[in-house]
Amino acid sequence: MAEETDIAVPKPRPGGRTLTPYFFVLPAAIVMIAGLMYPVADAFYLSFFDWKIGTKFAKADNVGFDNYIRLLSDPDVRESIWVTFRFGFWTILIEMVIGVSLALLLEKPIRGASIFRTIFILPLMVSPVVVGLIWRYLFDARVGWINYYLGFIGIEPQVWLGDAELAFFAIVFTDIWQWTPFIFIIVIAGLQALPSEVLEASRIDGANWWQQIFLVKLPMIRSILLIALLMRLIDVFRAMEVMYILTGGGPGRATELLSLHIYNRAFDAQLLGYASAISVLLILIVFILSLGILVVGNPMKDKSDI
């Protein structure tokens, strides 16, 4: 592609590669190693020990692969992974549908569009802890607004956060409320960057509204959708603040996402080594998922020759 344009592309120096590019990525690489690789490596190291906070690490027992062996047969971890996948499936599916629909609706310059857009992205700006608190009070069984208003249409007060199914619904609902705007913003930005010639051409060719959306617009922002999906997927595995405050993972383990499970195991049950082992599993899952998505549809693929 580059050969067809007139833009000058620096030719590699004769006689070998240059070190200059590596020099430019060096600062980023150092930050990555210090801020990301080191803690991950440390957690990996910790996962081979049985260490209790407040004792010298030198005294901690090296338990070898015990934590990993325990991990493989731990029904609680399995349940928590299952909860996380279910949570991810429902939230991402619904968020994508609502977020993309909203973006398509508000993409045209209708009256007050900017007001709507601002309102729609508000939840995104609220800190997760505050989101957790707001919804905890809304869902409160005794004094919550949700039960109060349901009372008007004759629905008995529900124990939203104390019933396995309702609590799961509550965290999914809260997540959708908070994160749909994220999809919305990304998609609307993508839609607005679409070249108008293409849309015009499709119109001239007689495409109707639906065809325009499904055959022109969405395929053209495919890579953006994929990035949004990927980021949400990783977020699902990182999510914990809202559930920590909303339900604490309960009742039982009904809303205990994997990251919250790790937190509870590490700091409530004081099993730091074991929690580290679960963290390693978490990284592995996210890594595989991310890799999978990148392989299926690499958003950078078309640009690999830059």
Partner: protein, 450 residues
């Protein structure tokens, strides 16, 4: 001129001698030596400790020992304290711990035994009278190393003094009970009958309770376990949470959840007490803190309608012992000044002053003080309840965190959120508990003896 100089010298010397004589008798004021020292106190941001701030100021005024308070949300307290106490030289000179943490702190070597101060005549106030401190509080919060490590016993040693300690009592709505012609329940049978009757006849929540997954629901169950005669472990560290008594306690908890205010499975302490204080529940069994809360117009809609009674009795009387105790970290640099502080705060005068400031007493003499008894109707109940307080109502061992949250916290959630038969749930929990104890080596002796 020279003569005058000489006189001045003599005078000066005499003054110096007199001064040093005074200094020599500085033990007349035991605080003198530590004047200007700054100690750092780590405690929770809870009402009792907020009230104590005034007393801390008075302490500084009287003794010249400066105090810096690091008040933290109590769930954050343990991590922070452990971090600080595991350094070579710590910031903290006084730490307040939830009684549950004492075993962990001592087993990790983080605390200073108080014997080294109580043997120092220059430090101990002869009028301190440690016997006046409620025994249940002192044993439960301060003694570590006795039977099972956390109970009274000959191998125990004192590491802390109770400050902000509490036990459980029953609070009930006098108006509701009068209307229904009920007497406050004295036994668990009466409690269950009353709960059912209140639910049926009045349509309001009967007994409020914690129920949130994790330590909250376990705390609720433990409240009933001790009076119903149950325990977590037998003498050989075998878990017995599937015993008939323990299953009965779980049944009681299920009934309470079904007849109580809406939403018990999502209640922590604040939600469950709010349900009572806002008039949605007729009874409350938990920390005595409810008494002060019920008189606080910001929290309570039921002031004046609340009566207090003893924690109902099952096969025996037994109430919880909880709250806080304070002691001195092993890595504190100002241990003696810290001891003087702890002694001052829990002295007879200090304890009385704490009540005046809105805190909770730890001394029998304060609970029996006629003026306070007139003012606080719960005091005689608490004084009568304390001999029943059971230091073994929960095991304060390091493994308790995991048992409490991962095992019991999950099993009991199942008890109150489903209709599944209880015995299998508790059987399963018992197996899990056994596996944990096995892993931690508690059965090594039993195997060795075989």
């Amino acid at each position: 001129m020279k003569q005058w100089f000489g006189k001045a010298t003599v005078l000066g010397t005499a003054t110096a001698v007199a001064l040093s004589a005074l200094a020599g008798s500085a033990f007349a004021n035991p605080y003198e030596k530590y004047k200007g020292t700054t100690i750092v106190v780590s405690w929770p941001a809870l009402s009792h400790f907020k009230a104590a701030e005034t007393l801390v100021e008075e302490f500084t005024e009287e003794t010249g020992i400066e105090v810096e308070i690091d008040a933290l949300q109590y769930l954050k307290l343990r991590d922070r304290q452990i971090l600080e106490m595991s350094k070579d030289e710590g910031e903290y000179d006084i730490v307040s711990w939830v009684v549950m943490w004492k075993g962990e702190y001592v087993s990790k070597g983080l605390l200073t035994p108080l014997s080294q101060f109580f043997t120092n005549g220059a430090l101990v106030d002869p009028e301190y009278d440690i016997n006046d401190i409620a025994d249940a509080y002192l044993q439960n919060g301060g003694v570590v190393g006795g039977t099972k490590g956390y109970m009274p016993g000959k191998s125990g040693a004192l590491y802390g003094v109770p400050f902000g300690a509490e036990t459980s009592i029953l609070a009930y709505r006098k108006d509701v009970f009068e209307e229904l012609g009920l007497e406050p329940p004295e036994t668990y049978d009466e409690l269950i009958a009353a709960a059912q009757m209140i639910k049926d006849k009045k349509g309001m929540g009967a007994l409020t309770s914690r129920g949130k997954t994790g330590h909250q629901v376990t705390a609720a169950w433990l409240l009933h376990l001790a009076p119903l005669g149950g325990k977590i472990f037998d003498d050989q560290w075998n878990p017995v949470i599937n015993s008939p008594e323990a299953v009965k306690a779980a049944e009681v908890l299920r009934t309470i959840s079904n007849t109580g205010p809406t939403g018990i499975p999502s209640y922590g302490f604040s939600e469950m007490s709010a349900a009572f204080l806002q008039g949605d529940a007729a009874m409350y069994i938990d920390s005595l803190k409810i008494a002060a809360m019920s008189r606080n117009p910001k929290l309570s809609k039921v002031d004046g309608k609340v009566g207090f009674a003893l924690h109902p009795v099952g096969s025996r009387c037994g109430s919880e012992t909880g709250g806080f105790a304070m002691g001195i970290p092993a890595n504190s640099l100002n241990k003696e000044a810290a001891f003087l502080f702890a002694q001052y705060m829990t002295s007879k005068a200090g304890d009385k002053r704490m009540v005046e400031l809105g805190g909770d007493p730890v001394r029998i003499s304060t609970l029996n003080n006629p003026e306070f008894v007139k003012q606080f109707p719960e005091y005689p109940v608490v004084a009568e309840q304390l001999p029943c307080a059971d230091p073994d109502w929960r095991p304060l061992i390091p493994e308790w965190n995991e048992l409490n949250i991962d095992v019991l916290g999950q099993a009991l959630t199942k008890v109150i959120t489903t209709d599944d038969p209880i015995q299998p749930i508790m059987d399963e929990a018992n197996e899990k508990a056994r596996a944990i104890m096995e892993r931690e080596g508690y059965y090594a002796w039993a195997k060795y003896r075989q």
